[in-house]
């Protein structure tokens, strides 16, 4: 009788030990992917900041005006060349 109990307990113990090993392994794995995802998130943050910076740099009004004048031969709008439309007016 006592031998049977011992055998069952031993099997349980081995089972538990193995599942502990497995759980630890899974935990490490998940932890590593979490780390990776967090690193990626940080990198994306950096990229986002950089892109916003680029947007502001490239969208600088001085630059737009220069390109409009030089490359596109545009001139500033004046009031006497503007037709104003009023809604509902015939």
């Amino acid at each position: 009788m006592s031998f049977k109990i011992n055998a069952v307990l031993a099997a349980l113990l081995v089972g538990c030990a193995l599942s502990l090993v497995n759980a630890q392994y899974q935990a490490r794995h998940l932890f590593i992917s979490l780390e990776r995802a967090q690193r990626q998130a940080r990198q994306l943050d950096v990229d986002w900041a950089q892109l916003q910076l680029d947007q502001s740099t490239l969208g600088k009004h001085g630059r737009i005006e220069e390109i409009a004048r030089r490359d596109l031969n545009m001139t500033p709008l004046t009031a006497n060349r503007t037709q104003y439309l009023t809604e509902g007016e015939q």
């Binding site: 932890f31 916003q52 910076l53 947007q55 502001s56 600088k60 009004h61 005006e65 503007t82």
Partner: protein
């Protein structure tokens, strides 16, 4: 009787008295204490082990744990970047990015092969000779400091020399790829200012440690600054993070600062001020655009300007460009102050726009001092006093009122008051206590002499005319709800004053015809002041031409104030130098904000010579 038997007893095991052998030949005669000694030594050894174990496990745990930690524990810094500064449309005006400071250990680097050092010098953007020179000088210093008998060569490792700070990441990666001994990288942050000199006076700049030195960067330092956190981790042999250990201190990212600035209007104001300064060969120029409804500063431009990234390196007289003329310079505003005196006269019921005042032949003597107009205007009404900017008319109005009332109005609109808009270096200006005013001073003050204000104070004060007589606090940050105003003059007075200010621009005798804008009604007041140098008016005369006004008059949206400091060619009156700048800024700002035109005039023809005008 065994004990007395002597020889026999030796063959008996001491403990149990069992005889091993009956043969006397095998009787070994060892002294009985020897086995006891062995026994004792064995137990003592076990006891020593036990004590040692207790000692290590229970008592002196700290040292071992520390050593263990050193081998597998790491504290990682969780970075917190400084907040961005954005304009009201969320466009980035200042942003921090991670960079590296490159440090070197001189004697290790000097041992590296020459071609690697050359590559390093190229990446650091300095001649190889300079790099070598730097390293050798530092090494020589170190050698000189060390005592001759000091053999501790390891100390060399402590000597670090910074080679270049704020190296961008891609360059830093290339330097790492060189695999040089004695190179150390430290994390730093670099501030980028995409708009450059256009907004630099508002935003300011940071030092190498990314701490604000000027402008909003300085004023909002605690808001923008991030607080780095840290976490404890366990790493494996290769440095990979295995798991978290212990507590995590969360980093606090610096918060973003949303300014009230509108990048587009800011650019317009900046480029127009720049044009004016170049055209009139002026020393400096400045402009400010306020939102009438919210009190937000939509644009604040200064010229000459500076590039924020170069600001740190400016020395001596070059630092003059850092000056924010709008906020930190006070000047005698001249005639731009006349509307306040006249408004006070109307607000107290003493005058109406149509009240006639005799300004005589253009000269008016108060006790021993004479005030003059550009020419004799004769008998004109109050409205014409503003339109033609008559010093005598304003003085007469001022002298008919108690000094205290004038002083109170000036104080209420903020002149002479320490500004509270949270901008470093803001000046209060100077309004002397009314009790010490002499009549001549009260008269000159009515047209803006003997009193000093900053351009931003002047613009803010004009809000009482643009709004219906109340004044609101200014804000450099975007406001969500309209602020509560304090009534200074009656709405009726403000409306009458608006009409008068419009005649200054569009009237037959107006002094600011060049402030006209095609398609919109504009109003404002010119001012020309002599510059005060060392407490007296500069000889030869130096001028400050200014203009403060508002558009569109049908429902004012912007208050714009312009100042041109020491114009030297093409005129020096406010109406000549500052009014056209006002018109250009206003026209573009209105167009960019899609404000519908309120005038049918589309062609502006300004007489080329509008003649002299009063101060």
């Amino acid at each position: 009787m065994m004990r007395s038997g002597g020889a026999n007893s030796a063959r008996v095991a001491r403990s149990k008295g069992v005889q091993f052998s009956k043969s006397p030949m095998l009787a070994v005669s060892l002294p009985p204490w020897r086995s006891r000694v062995v026994l004792f030594v064995l137990f003592a050894a076990f006891a020593a082990l036990a004590i040692r174990a207790v000692w290590l496990q229970g008592l002196s745990t700290q040292f071992l744990q520390d050593q263990g930690e050193l081998r597998y524990g790491r504290t990682l810094e969780l970075p917190a970047t400084r907040g961005n500064i954005r304009d009201r449309d969320n466009q980035v005006l200042a942003s921090s990015a991670e960079v590296r400071g490159v440090w070197g250990v001189p004697n290790e680097l000097l041992k590296e092969p020459a071609d690697k050092l050359r590559a390093l010098a190229a990446l650091l953007d300095m001649p190889e000779a300079e790099l070598r020179g730097k390293l050798e000088t530092k090494q020589a210093q170190v050698d000189a400091k060390r005592k001759p008998d000091d053999k501790d060569k390891d100390k060399d490792k402590q000597v670090l020399l910074y080679l270049k700070r704020q190296v961008e990441m891609d360059v830093a990666h290339k330097i790492t790829a060189l695999k040089l001994d004695g190179i150390e990288m430290r994390k730093e942050y670099k501030r980028y200012y995409p708009q450059g000199g256009v907004v630099s006076h508002v935003i300011g700049f940071n030092d190498l440690e990314d701490v604000g030195q000027e402008g909003m960067e300085k004023a909002q330092e605690s808001w923008l600054k991030g607080k780095p956190g840290s976490r404890r981790v366990i790493v494996d042999r290769l440095g990979h993070i295995v798991e978290d250990a212990g507590t995590i201190t969360e980093p606090h990212e610096g918060k973003d600062l949303i300014l009230s600035l509108d990048s587009k209007i800011q650019y317009i104001a900046f480029s127009q001020v720049k044009n004016a300064v170049e055209k009139f060969k002026a020393k400096a120029g400045a402009a400010i655009v306020l939102d009438v409804h919210t009190g937000e500063v939509l644009a604040l431009a200064n010229y000459p300007t500076f590039e924020p990234k170069e600001a740190r390196t400016l020395r001596g007289a070059d630092r003059e460009v850092l000056r924010n003329h709008v906020i930190t310079d006070t000047f005698e505003p001249g005639s731009t102050l006349k509307p306040f005196t006249v408004a006070l006269g109307m607000d107290t019921g003493r005058y109406k726009p149509s009240t006639l005042i005799d300004t005589g032949s253009g000269r008016y003597t108060i006790l021993d001092r004479t005030i003059s107009d550009t020419k004799g205007h004769g008998v004109i009404n109050v409205q014409q006093i503003i339109e033609m900017s008559s010093n005598i008319g304003t003085s007469k109005i001022a002298l008919s009122m108690p000094a205290q009332e004038m002083w109170e109005l000036f104080t209420k609109v903020g002149f002479g008051q320490q500004p509270k808009w949270g901008f470093p270096g803001a000046q209060a200006g100077r309004v002397r206590p009314y009790k010490s005013w002499r009549p001549i001073e009260q008269a000159t003050m009515s047209y803006g002499n003997g009193i000093s204000v900053s351009l931003i104070q002047l613009a803010r004060a004009y809000l009482i005319f643009a709004r219906d007589g109340d004044i609101i606090p200014l804000s450099f940050q975007k406001v969500s709800a309209p602020p509560v105003g304090t009534q200074v003059i009656k709405p009726q007075t403000a409306r009458q004053m608006r009409e008068m200010l419009e005649t200054v621009v569009s009237g037959k005798d107006g002094t600011a015809k060049q402030a006209q804008i095609a398609g919109y009604r504009a109003g404002g007041k010119t001012g020309t002041a002599y510059k005060v140098v060392n407490g007296r008016y500069a000889i030869p005369r130096k001028y400050i031409g200014s203009f403060a006004g508002m558009v569109p008059m049908s429902n004012p949206r912007f208050v714009i104030a312009v100042m041109i400091d020491e114009p030297t060619q093409g005129g020096h009156y406010g109406g000549q130098v500052a009014a056209p700048t006002f018109a250009a800024v206003a026209a573009n700002a209105l167009r960019s904000k899609n404000v519908p035109p309120d005038s049918t005039v589309t062609e502006i023809v300004v007489p080329s010579d509008s003649g002299p005008e009063a101060m």
